[in-house]
């Protein structure tokens, strides 16, 4: 009887603790004006040698922006980057909105971007890292069976910043940042039970929801560049 109680206590404790805190900051420079046929694209920054903005985070943000019948059409990142190859490869991707004007001097590129009905580009930069880990889980196997025993935990931190560029005006519309922190646990009594803090997923939802609001409401902020 003691073992199930221990299990339940441990599970409840870990389930309560395996949560994530998310902080969202927004700076809006101008009103977003999406026409009926206008589309946006969400792109990951991949120029840093130290980290890589995860492709699954980018597709998650894109899905979140397009969700809840927002009416915002998002071009898939891979399709956009492949069809405009090589102009949005890490080596050549514009780092400032004004640089778009130089890029579209290439007539084929301009034509293709116009075919996409592109109005806004959302650049997402950042990553999720494991910042600390402790404990250990050991597993053994023998003729009579196998099992694991131990307890491990690790902290994760997400740090993302999204910049919204107006393709037509070649200017910055808004910046949204999302910081998320959380601790995951792995208790193991015969079977390991991962209790994961969905740090990246929650950062994505926070970032995506805030960006969706920018495109839906189109309300200008107070701050000026």
């Amino acid at each position: 009887m003691k073992t199930p109680k221990l299990f339940i206590t441990l599970f409840s404790f870990a389930a309560l603790s395996a949560c994530t805190s998310v902080t969202i900051d927004e700076y809006q420079n101008a009103q977003a004006e999406l026409g009926n046929n206008d589309r946006i694209v969400v792109l990951g920054r991949r120029h840093s040698p130290e980290y890589e903005t995860e492709p699954d985070l980018i597709s998650c943000v894109a899905k979140t922006i397009a969700s809840n019948n927002s009416g915002v059409t998002v071009i898939p990142e891979k399709q956009f980057v492949d069809e405009l190859y090589p102009w949005f490869e890490p080596r050549m991707a514009p780092m400032q909105p004004k640089r778009l004007a130089t890029l579209i001097k290439e007539p084929k590129l301009k034509e293709k971007i116009n075919d996409f009905n592109l109005r806004y580009l959302v650049w997402v930069d950042g990553n999720t890292q494991t910042t600390n880990s402790s404990g250990s889980v050991g597993c053994a196997i023998g003729p009579g069976g196998g099992g694991c025993f131990g307890f491990g935990s690790w902290d994760e931190k997400s740090d993302y910043e999204a910049s919204v560029w107006d393709y037509q005006k070649q200017s910055l519309v808004a910046k949204v940042s999302a910081d998320a922190k959380g601790t995951s646990y792995m208790p193991a009594l015969v079977v390991p039970i991962p209790l994961l803090a969905r740090v990246q997923s929650n950062a994505c939802k926070g970032l995506g929801s805030q960006l969706r609001e920018i495109f839906i409401s189109g309300s200008p902020g107070d701050a000026q560049e």
Binding site: E50, Y85, P86, P90
Partner: protein, 245 residues
């Protein structure tokens, strides 16, 4: 009974022995570049070394990787190069061969992979696979005369994903490096000094041209394009420094 229990043990042992051996034949799809083609009739020659390129890790300190890149490189160049020129003649014989002549063709491009390096997440202490490639690009005229000879480097990285094998991540990093090479060539091919001079001379035969100094040419200019040392080596150097101090 003895033989029955030996089977799983042998399986486990063989698994343990092969766990750090990775074999990879790189596969990928490459997009065609979106750029204005150069007014040239071009062809390419792929050397047998390029087509059969096979990297085998020789260091005892590293995991045993065997990486075949030949078919991926061919697929990449077959997609990239025809889009850079107004006319494409396909594959050419080796321009260095005796009595080489390709009438009607302006230039023949011969890419050679001269260096290949990689770094694994456990070596760089990051969550990314990294690949560096260095190419020696040679450009010949249709009569076999060497026109330009320069080096181009490419870099690719990919995060190690949950539920993604090391082989898939390495494959992706190599594909990203080849795409980076494509970006470099699309942007810089028309800027190769000898090619630019040659095209100007061809378009304006009566004009006088000052020959370029050795510093201005690409021929045999290798030092400027050395690949960076892999992070693993950098880290070992740093550790050694700390130990000494």
């Amino acid at each position: 009974m003895k033989s029955n229990s030996a089977v799983p043990i042998l399986c486990l042992l063989s698994l343990a022995l092969t766990a750090c051996n990775s074999q990879l034949t790189v596969k990928g799809q490459f997009p065609s570049p979106l750029s204005s083609p150069m007014p040239l009739h071009a062809a390419a020659h792929y050397s047998p070394e390029l087509l059969a390129h096979n990297y085998t890790e020789s260091s005892d300190d590293r995991d045993k990787w065997e990486i075949q890149t030949g078919s991926a490189q061919q697929a990449f160049f077959d997609t990239l190069l025809p889009a850079l020129f107004q006319q494409w003649a396909g594959q050419s014989p080796d321009p260095e061969s005796e009595s080489f002549q390709l009438p009607g063709v302006d230039i023949v491009i011969k890419p050679n992979l001269s260096d290949f390096q990689y770094s694994l997440p456990r070596e760089s202490r990051s969550k990314i696979f990294e690949v560096w490639m260095k190419y020696n690009m040679q450009l010949y005229q249709g009569d076999g005369q060497l026109l330009a000879d320069w080096f181009v480097t490419a870099y690719g990285k990919t995060p190690s994903g949950f539920m993604q094998s090391d082989e898939d991540a390495m494959n992706e990093a190599i594909v990203v490096a080849l795409r980076d090479l494509g970006a470099n060539l699309t942007l810089n091919f028309a800027r190769v000094p000898e090619l630019r001079d040659w095209m100007e001379r061809r378009n304006n035969p009566s004009a006088e041209f000052t020959p370029r100094t050795p510093e201005e040419t690409t021929l045999k200019k290798e030092a400027a394009h050395e690949l960076p040392e892999p992070k693993e080596k950098e880290l070992k150097k740093e550790e050694a420094k700390h130990e000494n101090s």
